[in-house]
Amino acid sequence: MTDYALELDRVSKRFGAVQANKDVSLNVVKGSIHGIVGENGAGKSTLMSILYGFYQADSGSISVFGKPADIPNSHAAIAAGIGMVHQHFMLVEPFTVLENIILGNEGSALLMQGQAKARKVLLDLSTNYNLKVDPDAIVGDLPVGLQQRVEILKALYKGAKVLILDEPTGVLTPQETDDLFAILKGLKEQGVTILLITHKLKEIMAITDNVSVMRHGEMVANLSTAETNPEELAELMVGRKVVTQLEKPDAAAGDDVLKVEGLSVVDAQQVERVKNVSFKVSAGEIVGIAGVSGNGQTELMEALAGMRSVDAGTICYGKLKISTESHIGPDELRDAGIAHVPEDRHRVGLVTPMSASENSILGYHRDDKWNQHGLLKPGLVEKHCATLMSDFDVRPQDPKLKSANFSGGNQQKLILARELDREPKVLLVGQPTRGVDIGAIEFIHTQLLKMRNRGGAILLISVELDEILALSDRIIVMCDGRITGEVAAADADERTLGLMMSATADLSSDSDLSSNSEQEQAG
C-alpha cells in the first residue's frame, strides 16, 4: 500500500451562494511532487486555505501522514507538518533572513538565545537541502528568487514535511524558475512532499509526478503526469477544447503612431526606473515588451499613458508630444484615441467598490454623452454597460453589480470592453491575462488581434512569455529599465528572450542601481 502524505476525503466548503469546494478528494503520495491545476475560481486557493487552516471545511475529512487531522488555524497546520509558500511573500523586508525565519518562533523573551539556536538549525537546513542563503542579509536587498528561498526555509524551519507552493514562478525569470525546480527536486529526494499550485501547464509537465485538475470547485481528474499531456489538462480545466494557437495574419504595418525617444522615468524615491528607452510602434502591429516584473515596464507604461511625468526624452503620438516641458494627462490622451488597459485591474483599472455600470465610464465620465445639465445620465450609462457586457461576454450580465464581485477574467473583459469601445488608434495594455482563466484569455487575445487587424497599434507588456510570443509582431526586452534586446517575433524563442531578460550583468555599468531595482521587485 502506498504511503500518503495527505488524504482529503470529500471536503466541501461553501461561501454564501458559492460552492467553492464540492466533495474534493485528493491523495498525495509521500515524497512526491503533486501538481494542482485549475482556472481561477476553480477552488484551488480555497482548498489550500483549508489545508493551511485559514478556512474550515464544512464537511469532509483530512488526514496528514495517515492520521486524521483537525486544522482550525495555521498553528495546527504547522504542527501537523504543513508549510506554505504564498504567492505574495510574507516577509518583513527590513529584517534579516534569520530574523524572518524565527518570526513567530522567537523562543524566549530575549532574541539572542533563539537566534543562536536558529542560526545553527538554519545552517543545517541550508546544507541538507542545498538552499544557500546568507542568514544575515537583509531580505529587502535579496533578489526575488532568493526571497522565495527564504520563504521555503521558513517553512522547513517550522518543521514542514509537506510544502505547499502557490503559483511560485509568477515573479521569476525562466532561469530562476529552473533554479527553483532544481531545489524542489532536491527537497523531494530528501523526502519532502510538495504540492504545487499553478496555472502553467508546462511547469506541471516539467516537474510533477502526479497532477490533479480542479474545475468549478470539483476535482475532475487525478492523473499521473507521465500519462497525460498539456492539451488533455487544458481541456479538463476548461471543460471543452481550447484553441491555443490563434490565427494571426501577417502584420500590415502602417505609419508610426507611437514614437518614444530617449525616455527616462524617475519614481517617487528618485530611482531611475526607465533609462533612455527608444522604440516605435506602427499602426496595425503588436509590439510586445517582455521582462521580469519590476524592471521598469510599469513605469514605462504609466509614462506612456500620461499617469507619470517623464524625466527626459519624448513620447509622440502623431502630433501629440509628451516631454518634460509638456505634460499631457490621461484625459487628453483618451480624447486623442489612446486607450490604456492597466496591468493592475484592482488598483488602477477599476474602482472596485463602484458598480460595473459606473466603472464602464471611468475615464470617459466627463463626456457630454453621459452628462446633461450637470447631472450624469445613469440610465444611459447602464444601457451602455449592458451593451459592453453582452459584446464582451462579461458575466454575470448585471450592470448594477459591484465590480469587486466579478471574477478576474470578467473584470478584465469589462475594462477591455470600455477601452476598445471607441476603436482607439493606440492601445497600451499591461498583463492583459494575469489571473484570468483560459477561456477568457482566448477571448482577450482574439480581441487584441482584432484591433490589430483593423489597423490599431498595440503596445503589450506582459511577464508571460507565451503571451508575448503568441501575440507580438515585434518583441522588445526590458531589463533594469533598459531595452536589452529587440527581435522580430518570428526569430524569438523563450530561451533567447530569457537570456535578454537577465542581461543586466554585461549591460549595466552601475551595479548599485541594479540592486535597487531588485529591492523594488521585492516590494
Binding site: F15, G16, A305, G306, M307, G329, P330, D331, E332, L333, R334, H340, P342, D344, R347, V348, G349, L350, V351, T352, P353, M354, E358, L362, G363, H365, R366, W370, N371, G374, L375, L376, P378
Partner: protein
C-alpha cells in the same frame, strides 16, 4: 469579512444595525441612570417629553438638528473623498464670522432677502476658505488633514477671541459681543412664519435655516451620486490610482471637496448668527463640529442617514437639557455621557452585532 458582508440584506445594514446600536447605547445609559439612582423609565419620559412633548421643546430639538445636519454633511462630503475633516468646529465658527461681518457692514443698507442670500453665500465662502487651506496643504504638501484641521479649530478660536475683544466689541460694553444686528438681516423664525399663515406655535430658536439644511442634504445627495464631480470625488476617495488613470487630478478634487465640506459647516453660522443670536458672540458653534463626526458616522455618510442621526442628536441635546433641569441628580455631564455612549456604540462598535445578524440571516435563509 467579505462573506459576512454579502450575507446581510441592505435594510439590515442601513436600518436594523444602526437601530440596534442606538438601543444598546440607550440600555447602557439606563444602567448608568440606575447606578446614580435615577429611574431610567422616568428619565426617558422626561427626555422624550422635553424633546417632543411641547412646541417650544420641539422647536429647540429641530434647531439643534439643523446645526447637526450641516456639520454631519460636512464630515460626510470630506469622507467621500477619503479625508477626515474634523475641522467642522473652526469652519462653523468662521462661517459665522463671515455672516457677522457682512451683516455688521450692510444690515441696514440692503433689502432683507438679498442680505439673507448673501449671508448664506458668505457663510459658505468663509467656511470653505477655512477648509480650503488644510485641504490644499494635504493635497499638495502632504500635511495630515486631521492635524491641520484641529490646528485650524484652535486658530479660528483664537482669532475670534481677538476680534471679539479688540475689534468687534460693541463700544462701551464689557462683554465680548458685537452690537445687535438690524432685524432686517434676521432669518425668519418658524413660529413667525407659521403665525403669518395663521398657525400658532410657541416661540423657539427654530428658524428657516432648517429648510436650508434640508436643501443642503438634497444638494449633497445630488452632488455625490448624480454628477460627474461626485463621481470624481468618490473615485478619488475609493482609489486614488484609478482616479489618476481616469485622468482625474486627485489633489484638485480633494481641495474642491474640502472646500464644499467647509462650506456646509459654515452654514452653522447662518443658523446661529442670522437665525438665533443676531449678533456675533463667542463660542456659538461650540460642539457642533465634533458632533458632526458622530452624526456622519451614524448616518453612514448618506444625507438621509445624516438627517435621522442629526435628529437623534437634536433629541439628546434638547431632551438632555430638560433632563438636567428636571432631575436633581442628573447634570449636563450625564447627558454628555449618554451622547458618548451613542457615539461609542454607533461609531466605534458599529459592527458589534454584525456577526450575530449574519448568522441569524444565514440560518433563516438555509
Amino acid at each position: 469579512m467579505k462573506g459576512l458582508d454579502q450575507a446581510l440584506p441592505r435594510w439590515v445594514n442601513i436600518g436594523l444595525l444602526p437601530l440596534l446600536n442606538v438601543v444598546t447605547a440607550l440600555l447602557v445609559s439606563a444602567l448608568v441612570f440606575l447606578v446614580i439612582d435615577v429611574n431610567p423609565l422616568k428619565a426617558a419620559e422626561i427626555l422624550l417629553y422635553g424633546a417632543f412633548g411641547y412646541q417650544e421643546g420641539l422647536g429647540f430639538t429641530l434647531y439643534y438638528t439643523t446645526n447637526f445636519i450641516f456639520t454631519g454633511l460636512a464630515v460626510a462630503i470630506a469622507f467621500h473623498v477619503g479625508l477626515f475633516n474634523i475641522g467642522g468646529e473652526g469652519q462653523a465658527y468662521i462661517g459665522g464670522l463671515g455672516v457677522g461681518l457682512l451683516c455688521l457692514a450692510l444690515d441696514t443698507s440692503l433689502p432683507g432677502p438679498a442680505l439673507l442670500l448673501l449671508s448664506v453665500l458668505v457663510a459658505g465662502l468663509f467656511g470653505a476658505a477655512w477648509a480650503f487651506i488644510p485641504g490644499w496643504l494635504q493635497a499638495y504638501r502632504g500635511s495630515h488633514i486631521v492635524i491641520t484641521t484641529i490646528m485650524f479649530n484652535f486658530i479660528a478660536s483664537s482669532l475670534m477671541v481677538y476680534l471679539m475683544v479688540n475689534v468687534l466689541r460693541e463700544p462701551g460694553q464689557m462683554t465680548p459681543q458685537s452690537r445687535l444686528l438690524d432685524e432686517n438681516s434676521w432669518m425668519p423664525f418658524v413660529h413667525e412664519v407659521l403665525a403669518g399663515i395663521g398657525i400658532e406655535f410657541e416661540a423657539s430658536p427654530l428658524n428657516l435655516s432648517i429648510i436650508l439644511a434640508l436643501l443642503c442634504a438634497l444638494g449633497t445627495w445630488l452632488l455625490i451620486w448624480k454628477t460627474k464631480w461626485g463621481y470624481e470625488i468618490r473615485t478619488v476617495g475609493f482609489n486614488r490610482d484609478a482616479a489618476v488613470y481616469a485622468g482625474i487630478k486627485p489633489a484638485y478634487v480633494m481641495v474642491l471637496a474640502m472646500a464644499i465640506s467647509g462650506a456646509m459647516a459654515g452654514m452653522v453660522g447662518v443658523n446661529e448668527i442670522s437665525g438665533v443670536q443676531h449678533r456675533l458672540i463667542l463660542d456659538f458653534h461650540y460642539g457642533y463640529g465634533f458632533a458632526g463626526i458622530a452624526v456622519a458616522l451614524m448616518g453612514r455618510n448618506h444625507p438621509i442617514g445624516i438627517i435621522l442621526a442629526a435628529l437623534l442628536f437634536g433629541v439628546l441635546y434638547q431632551g438632555g437639557a430638560e433632563l438636567a433641569f428636571e432631575m436633581s441628580n442628573i447634570n449636563r455631564d450625564i447627558v454628555v455621557v449618554m451622547q458618548g455612549l451613542v457615539i461609542l456604540f454607533c461609531g466605534a462598535l458599529e459592527f458589534l452585532y454584525k456577526p450575530l445578524l449574519a448568522k441569524f440571516f444565514k440560518e433563516k435563509a438555509a
